[in-house]
């Protein structure tokens, strides 16, 4: 990408010329304008505590759960109606020299637990080791007839009766077994930072994260598909190092990052439950995510000049590589065709450069400018690979394709303050160049203006309007055996015009009451698109009311609404558009919060009522309108927490949390493993639960 090279060079020259400009000496933007003449020379403080030794607190107690389901505890592990121990700690060991040990433990009684141990002496060093586990359930109520879940080979029961449809699989009903579709992440990290030693700050970080479990994965044989429990056994390691130097107006940091991904399961092989078109195709084999590496070097810098001028610059280059051994073209006997190469041999270079200037020209005017360059440059041998379609038959060979892009952004912004008003005006151009694909170039121009300030004496208001226009080079439909419809335009590359706006008013009519009303929206028009997304709109509005009802009693009430609409057109005849669809998602969230930390001297109370309702509607029009059932989810949350101080050292924490969740999605509602004749599914069900969790915990202060 020679043109990108030139652009990068230009940016760097600009960057360099600005940075080599001699900094003005003797002027420090942070220096105080006035210096008191009667500064004390030495104060002692007889009432200051300056504690040394152990301090902090820990919590011991129990959560008693009723009505929980796997989905209710999908990120916590609160899966069962039982008693879960509460073990939290926040302990400090303060040392004479200002050093401190910090031990934080959270949710040790749950699967979503975390621990951290830190020793730091602010301004000198910080050493930390951390552990964090997060479960994640992907689906509920899932069942599968496969044995070997979690391994690379999934087998059907002996004597399995294949069929053209799921209803023909006579052994299926008896073979279905519950299977958990979800993963657990465990992350262990360590870091060390040494602050400002002779101006240098050094930062080292390393972490390893494992992810184990299963994910749902579709596995097809021509027109028949099986949803498999994909084995997940992955490790992501990362290492980061930074060396910073700070002196006078300069702040420079060089950094390096290495991230590696290792997958213990390179592929999954499964018994095909359907009658295959190719009688020899009794098994299928899917390649899973390959091992990959990514490393990146970067230099960031900033310089603060005279008059508050601030320049920030950054250059980073990265390289990603993936050279996993390739699987045979097919597991089906007779369809293993020789490959042009044995490994993936894929490399990606990334380049990011940016320069930002922030200049307070005067007390009333500030200017900001930004240049940014982001490039992905992939390299790989462009070989022809024989294609065995879903382990069934040999199709024409295809050449592998890599995707490159280069994005260049220029932005300028003015920030005027006149009287009490503030006007921000922004202009921006984003150019995206691609070496491959149907659209070689996009140009997107944006302009916006925002006015903020007092209104009518008691209100604070803001109004922002913006307009974006994206142009595109001529659309070149993908050719080959299955060409794209020339009337199609890709959503993310199509010519588009967008109008955006937002407005808010807020006021604090008294010391105890404040409120805010806000509205925002955007409309996208894809006028040149005949097939694809043609219109998109996003409208939101909300309100907040905060009320100090009495001393130490705060009440907050909020409401937020959002509607997302998408209009698109399709062509069933590979020609002009002959159908359209409107999909609309709406969300309403309302909440009432009460915070009374000192209801009495020894009693604090916190309560929350929150309702969130989301719904989705899809209408498909092919002459007449066909409306799908509503996709919906409703969450009601009630939480009451009390703190009863028993003594200087002991506080009793009492809590009740009630959650009711209802959901419905036509894609899974009533879809059992054998509902779709051509898809042997997992039978995922809509999550619904109503749970109560009672907490009784003793908070012990050291």
């Amino acid at each position: 990408m020679n043109i990108d090279m030139q652009r990068l060079g230009t940016l760097l020259v600009l960057l360099g010329s600005l940075l080599v400009a001699p900094p003005s000496r003797g002027e420090d933007a942070d220096a105080p304008a006035d210096t008191p003449t009667d500064e004390p020379t030495a104060w002692t403080c007889s009432t200051c505590l300056y504690p040394v030794g152990w301090t902090g607190s820990y919590d011991v107690g129990a959560d008693i759960a009723f009505g929980v389901t796997p989905w209710a505890g999908r990120y916590t592990g609160l899966y069962k109606n039982t008693v879960y121990p509460v073990l939290d700690a926040n302990l400090l060991l303060l040392e004479e020299d200002g050093g401190r040990w910090e031990f934080i433990a959270r949710d040790l009684g749950l699967d979503s637990r975390s621990l951290s141990l830190v020793h730091r002496r602010p301004g000198d060093h910080r050493y930390a080791v951390e552990y964090r586990a997060i479960p994640s359930l992907a689906a509920e109520g899932t069942r599968t007839p496969f044995a070997g879940v979690g391994s690379s080979t999934l087998t059907l029961p002996p004597g399995w009766v294949r069929g053209d449809a799921t209803t023909d699989m006579t052994l299926l009903p008896g073979a279905l077994q519950p299977v958990e579709i979800g993963t657990e992440r465990e992350r262990v990290g360590a870091s060390a930072t040494w602050f400002e030693r002779r101006g240098f700050t050094t930062d080292l970080r390393a972490a390893t994260e494992t992810k184990r479990g299963t994910d749902p994965m579709g596995a097809s044989l021509i027109t028949r598909s099986t949803i498999l429990p994909e084995p997940v056994d992955q490790v992501t390691d990362s290492f980061e190092a930074g060396l910073g130097y700070k002196t006078g107006p300069w702040n420079v940091e060089a950094r390096y990052r290495l991230a590696t991904f290792r997958n213990a399961v390179e592929s999954v092989t499964w018994d095909v439950p359907f009658t295959a078109l190719n009688p020899a195709a009794t098994q299928g084999r899917m390649a899973l995510a390959p091992d990959n590496d990514f490393q990146q070097f970067g230099v960031d810098g900033s310089w603060r000049g005279a008059g508050g001028l601030k320049l920030n610059a950054s250059v980073s280059i990265g390289q990603g590589s993936q050279d996993a051994a390739l699987l045979p073209t097919s597991i089906t006997p007779g369809l293993a065709i020789a490959l042009p190469r044995a490994t993936a041999a894929m490399d990606v270079d990334t380049t990011l450069a940016y320069l930002r200037a922030s200049w307070p020209v005067s007390h009333d005017l500030a200017l900001r400018g930004e240049l940014r360059y982001d490039e992905r440059d992939a390299t790989a041998p462009l070989d022809l690979f024989p294609q065995v379609v879903t382990d069934t038959y040999l199709a024409p060979s295809r050449s592998s394709v890599v995707n490159d892009y280069a994005k260049t952004l220029a932005r300028i912004e003015g920030d005027w303050r006149f009287s009490d008003l503030r006007l921000l005006v922004r202009g921006q151009r984003l150019i995206t160049d691609r070496d491959q694909g149907s659209v070689a170039r996009n140009d997107e121009d944006s302009i916006s203006a925002e006015l903020r300030g007092p209104m009518f004496g008691v209100l604070e208001g803001s109004l922002e309007v913006a307009h974006d226009r994206r142009g595109a080079s001529p659309f070149v439909p993908l050719a080959g055996p299955a060409p794209q419809n020339p009337a199609l335009r890709y959503t993310n590359m199509a010519p588009m015009q967008r109008d955006r706006w937002s407005a808010s008013i807020s006021a604090a009519p008294s010391e105890r009451v404040s409120f805010e009303l806000r509205i925002d929206g955007r409309i996208e028009d894809y006028a040149a698109t005949e097939v694809g997304l043609t219109d998109h709109d996003d409208t939101g509005f909300g309100a907040d009311l905060n009320w100090i009802a009495a001393e130490d009693i705060a009440v907050a009430l909020y409401f937020q609404h959002q509607t997302l609409g998408y209009q698109q057109a399709g062509s069933q005849g590979f020609a002009a558009a002959d159908w359209s669809a409107l999909s609309e998602d709406a969300t309403d969230a309302v909440g009432l919060e009460l915070d009374a930390p000192y209801l009495t001297e020894n009693l604090g109370l916190r309560a929350e009522l929150a309702l969130t309702e989301s719904s989705g509607q899809v209408d498909v029009t092919t002459g007449s309108v066909d409306s799908f059932p509503e996709v919906s989810s409703h969450l009601m949350l009630i939480r009451i927490e009390g703190r009863l101080r028993i003594s200087e050292r002991y506080t009793l924490l009492l809590g009740w949390r009630h959650e009711r969740f209802d959901s419905s999605d036509w894609a899974i509602t009533g879809v059992a493993p054998d509902t779709v004749p051509g898809v042997l599914g997992l039978g995922e069900i809509d999550p619904n639960y109503e749970m109560d969790i009672f907490e009784l915990t003793l908070h012990i202060t050291l």
């Binding site: 006035d34 505590l49 020299d97 200002g98 250059v315 990011l352 794209q484 909020y558 989705g616 899809v618």
Partner: protein, 323 residues
């Protein structure tokens, strides 16, 4: 692009930056705390004066600050270090505020870091006097600075532990302003932010970032996503172009009404960009629901029933992202 050229460019940029830095006089002493206007005297006895009133009271509970680095006597650069101005290091000379009042006399105001009365830039300037390190180097021009969000809007330095250090408290602080994100994280599909298994700052650098608008911790959206979803990073033998360019083409980060944080559900999402010969853009309708003739194109994982490798395939026969 040839890699050696990029390294040369990188090296040149590094030298430019480094030479500028090394050319300066090294100064390792911490910055002096900003002082207040000449006309206002310091208090008579420093913190001893302040703590006569501001003790363990619940209105301004300041005493927990003594277990934090901000009130350490032993740390160089701490507001309570030897020869530092204790409370008045940050709050400024407060002799007028702390003096004994005559009957009917109103207490003089002090710099209380109160966004209602003090300009955000002045509040931030106080904090940045000591905290202007590389992690806050992009504060100027970032969305929070532009929106006049001051440090104290989120941080509480008098607390035993700043709430922003706790994932759950941090998330509650952020959604206090970002109400749409509050609604999003309560949807059926969301990152685990609601109960604090993740924190907002796992993805966002709230003090400023090279991505000034979204305040992402990494250079690009994809690099950020790949931190946790490294299996999607590739490069793959068969790539899906929008995946390599921007994850947010199909996914929305905070919460969605649709599975896997998709902006819309399949098949309509996929049909926004796919209408091929032999596999045309069919108008699937309610006849394909379980009550009718259940459709493999509509139900379960829809398009992903077959094209499951939407993030890329490394199978030599995976050009259709089905292997």
């Amino acid at each position: 692009m040839e890699h050696h050229s990029r390294i040369v460019l990188f090296g040149a940029a590094f030298m430019v930056l480094a030479s500028g830095a090394w050319a300066q006089d090294a100064s390792t002493s911490p910055p002096e705390p900003a002082a207040e206007q000449q006309s206002v005297p310091f208090s008579a006895a420093g913190a001893d004066t302040c703590l006569k009133c501001h003790d363990a009271d619940k209105e301004v509970p300041v005493l927990p600050i003594f277990v934090t680095p901000h009130a350490s006597r032993a740390l160089d650069g701490s507001p309570f270090a030897e020869d530092a101005k204790q409370c008045e290091t940050c709050h400024g000379a407060s002799g007028e505020h702390g003096k004994r009042l005559r009957r009917g006399e109103e207490r003089a105001p002090m710099f209380a870091f109160d966004p209602k009365h003090d300009a955000p830039a002045k509040i931030d300037g106080k904090c940045l006097t000591c905290h202007a390190d590389s992690h806050r180097d992009d504060w100027e021009g970032g969305v929070h600075q532009r929106a006049d969000v001051s440090c104290v809007a989120c941080h509480d330095v008098h607390a035993r532990r700043d709430p922003m250090m706790d994932p759950l408290a941090q998330n509650e602080t952020c959604v206090g302003c970002h109400r749409q994100q509050l609604a999003d994280i309560r949807k059926i599909s969301a990152h685990p932010l609601r109960d604090g298994q993740m924190a907002c700052n796992d993805c966002h650098a709230s003090h400023g970032a090279r991505d000034a608008a979204a305040l992402l911790k990494r250079d690009t959206t994809n690099q950020l996503c790949f931190d946790c979803h490294a299996d999607k990073r590739g490069p793959y033998l068969w790539e899906h172009a929008p995946v390599t360019e921007d994850c947010s083409t199909c996914h929305t980060p905070h919460g969605s009404n649709h599975r896997a944080l998709l902006t819309r559900s399949a098949p309509l999402l996929c049909q926004s960009c796919h209408a091929q010969s032999g596999h045309p853009s069919v108008a699937f309708n309610t006849a394909g629901l379980p009550s009718g003739a259940p459709s493999a194109f509509l139900l379960a994982r829809s398009c992903m029933n077959c094209h499951s490798q939407v993030h890329g395939s490394n199978h030599p026969s995976g050009s259709q992202l089905s292997r």
